[in-house]
Symmetry: C3
Subunit: 139 residues, 3 copies
Amino acid sequence: MKIISDSLSISTRGFNDMKDLTGAIEKKLSEHSLKNGIVTVFVQGSTAGVTTIEYESGLVKDFSELMERLVPQHGSYYHDARWGDGNGFSHVRASLLGPSLIVPFKDGRLTLGTWQQIVFVDFDNRSRSRTIILQFMGE
Amino acid sequence: MKIISDSLSISTRGFNDMKDLTGAIEKKLSEHSLKNGIVTVFVQGSTAGVTTIEYESGLVKDFSELMERLVPQHGSYYHDARWGDGNGFSHVRASLLGPSLIVPFKDGRLTLGTWQQIVFVDFDNRSRSRTIILQFMGE
Amino acid sequence: MKIISDSLSISTRGFNDMKDLTGAIEKKLSEHSLKNGIVTVFVQGSTAGVTTIEYESGLVKDFSELMERLVPQHGSYYHDARWGDGNGFSHVRASLLGPSLIVPFKDGRLTLGTWQQIVFVDFDNRSRSRTIILQFMGE
């Protein structure tokens, strides 16, 4: 049983920018030569989240519009009144979606569906360089 | 320390059909004779999710109505415009709720509250046969 | 590789009362002398949830207002009609946010961002004493 701490570095544009991490995580899994276990995908930071989606341009826009509808960018936020960051909406979206995702793997492959990708969504109000934690546990 | 890859097969009617998985997962846990660890419940597919709820008919309807209110079935979705599947709402609901749930177990029992059940919610717009991944890690 | 079942006991006031668990979890991690692995934070019960947030008073209020907007306390709930508990909104909020969070740790430290705290949110409609499950897996 091994525990392997790894990470991915990506650049994003913020404003719901959604990045498909699936290929990069599969590559890491293959490099670590693990067969069975879980990978934890964890967002280090409070203005981004992770989930899965069928990664195609229509749904990428649909998910972005949902976030804008549920948590409007130009709504009124105590965070902005207090700190002037202007990214209150980013924080609230991130807390709603959540920072952690666990994906099992079996026989060396992630147990995703055919049309299911692991995505990182950057909710911040500017471009960011991001480190995403990957923790593999398995054998 | 063991890693056990298992799964459940269920049939659903779609449209927020909510299934209580608790008994089936407890049965698997007992069969695998594990005492302490975690089970990962993972949805293979992009139109369903997992969470916990007090599984009684009132809340099953309340949760379904929430989903309809936040992500209306007959809203306008780029996914539908592009692919004609008519299940854009299903995908967006699934991404919002999330595909993975981790439940610890201790002394051979899931650490759920008395009125807390593990549920699978099928958001698709048709009946489906579903495979739900269960990955046990423990001893 | 060790599996350590632990827990935290806290008191809350309900109504979206948000508690920062980060310091208490870091203390437990240090006591258990683990270097690398994951901790599962799990809500035992069906009227509270966990996530991460920048824990400052503005965002605490912003998140509370989001919950009230998405799932109004004084909305109409089948749960309340059937059981008279008056906390239908609490259950639905809890299922939406989710009961489990996994945080990796590395070199004895949680892999959180600088402005990212682990929080428990009690959605119930009264004061509660809560047990939060912490399950450490690592070495």
